[in-house]
């Protein structure tokens, strides 16, 4: 429950300015939507006034989203994780590829007895997250920040555009993927 709450709260994810703008937009829109809903249900004059004067906040939220929509799609998104923080979990839907800018991350897989075991440690310049994405399957391992880490997050569409149009890039990722599948063992 706490984990779910943390995810829902805007601060639950360390993102760049675009993520924070989206979170601000969500707060603004949710607040005014809640006031509008309550105003209609209670028909309270005070809530009508609150909605009438507060709707600028909802418009601001929409504008913030438009700003993000214009700028976010074209770039890699920087994210920061504290030591011990999970970047994604085994079984999550695959949507991004990550490149480490600084710090170290650990790749963990769940053993037969349910315990998680570190199978690899990645550092600056390494990438992760591409295997599940290329194979169209859920994440096959959990990745956690071993130290404070800065990563670049690339969307699936951007990654696939590079992957399909740059043969060297594709070969490099295929080579890495084959090696990692071998490291992960027969469970893959």
């Amino acid at each position: 429950m706490l984990g779910l709450t943390w995810r829902v709260l805007p601060g639950g994810r360390h993102g760049d300015w675009r993520s924070r703008l989206i979170a601000a937009a969500q707060i603004a829109v949710a607040l005014i939507a809640a006031i509008a809903g309550l105003a209609m249900l209670t028909r309270s004059p005070m809530l009508f006034i609150a909605f009438s004067f507060g709707q600028g906040l909802m418009i601001a939220g929409t504008v913030l989203f438009v700003v993000v929509a214009i700028f976010a799609q074209r770039t890699m998104v920087g994210e920061e994780f504290a030591a011990g923080e999970t970047i994604f979990r085994e079984g999550d839907v695959s949507r991004h590829v990550y490149v480490i800018k600084s710090g170290f991350v650990e790749v963990l897989t769940r053993q037969a007895d349910g315990a998680e075991q570190v199978v690899k440690r990645l550092g600056p310049g390494d990438h992760f997250g591409e295997m599940a994405l290329l194979r169209g399957v859920p994440r096959n391992a959990t990745v956690r920040a071993a130290t404070a880490a800065e990563v670049f997050r690339m969307s699936a569409s951007n990654f696939m555009a590079l992957y399909t149009s740059l043969p060297d890039f594709q070969a490099q990722f295929n080579k890495t993927m084959a090696a990692r599948l071998e490291e992960l063992g027969p469970r893959q």
Binding site: G12, H14, V29, M40, P45, M46, F48, Q55, T62, H96
Partner: protein, 221 residues
């Protein structure tokens, strides 16, 4: 709940306002659920893949629709007498008089004849055009403030005399109105009426029939 008032049904019929309100609530719920879903499913994702469409709905399309129907609902609802009736401490005797099937006050007679159904208060107490509309909004804000903070006094009084133009905006030119010699100077409405030198209410009274006990004392909140 249906009551027959002066030969016509005063049933609470679902109209544009009610549908707009229901739609607003539905949109508000969709937006809130969508935002929670976006936080849970897509976390920090911005415009990648499905996140784009969910954000587009919850931060773009639904809010714009909500603003449209929400404002429509409020602007229409605040003109209705049921909104005036929400300030029950001050308005109840006026609404009771309005709904009295045997009432002889001007308000009751207008209600009985279905003059401007549901918006009787607004129709008579608001000036013409955009300026009248804006003035009514500002006055309404002051009323809500005074009512909420319980800073009004009973009996409530009009801030200024009821202007004849409020009556003339509908009655000027009406057959029965122009047939009355006292109303007219030849082809035009009499100057005394136009210049508020005399009041329509002087002959046509009472505007509201309010029990004496309802109009005394200070609000206790």
């Amino acid at each position: 709940m249906t009551a027959t008032v002066a030969g016509h049904s005063a049933a609470a019929q679902w109209g544009l306002v009610d549908w707009a309100m229901v739609l607003t609530v539905a949109l508000a719920v969709l937006i809130l659920l969508g935002i929670v879903a976006a936080r849970v499913i897509y976390r920090g994702a911005q415009t990648e893949g499905g996140a784009l469409w969910l954000h587009l709905l919850t931060l773009g399309i639904f809010p714009l629709c909500l603003l449209g129907v929400g404002n429509l609902a409020i602007q229409e609802y605040v003109q209705e007498q049921r909104f005036c009736a929400t300030c029950h401490l001050t308005m109840k005797p006026y609404i009771d008089d309005l709904h009295d099937p045997k009432g002889k006050s001007l308000a009751a007679l207008h209600f009985q004849h279905r003059f401007k159904p549901d918006v009787e208060c607004y129709a008579c107490h608001t000036n013409y055009g955009l300026s009248g509309y804006l003035e009514a909004k500002l006055t309404g804000l002051r009323h809500v403030y005074k009512y909420t903070t319980r800073t009004f006094e009973l009996p409530i009084r009009m801030r200024e005399p009821f202007a004849n133009v409020q009556c003339l905006k509908c009655h000027d030119g009406a057959k029965r109105f122009v047939e009355e010699e006292l109303h007219m100077d030849g082809e035009r409405v009499s100057e005394a009426l136009r210049r508020d030198q005399t009041s329509c209410g002087k002959c046509h009274k009472p505007a509201h029939r309010i029990p004496a006990r309802a109009g005394t004392g200070r609000s206790a909140g």
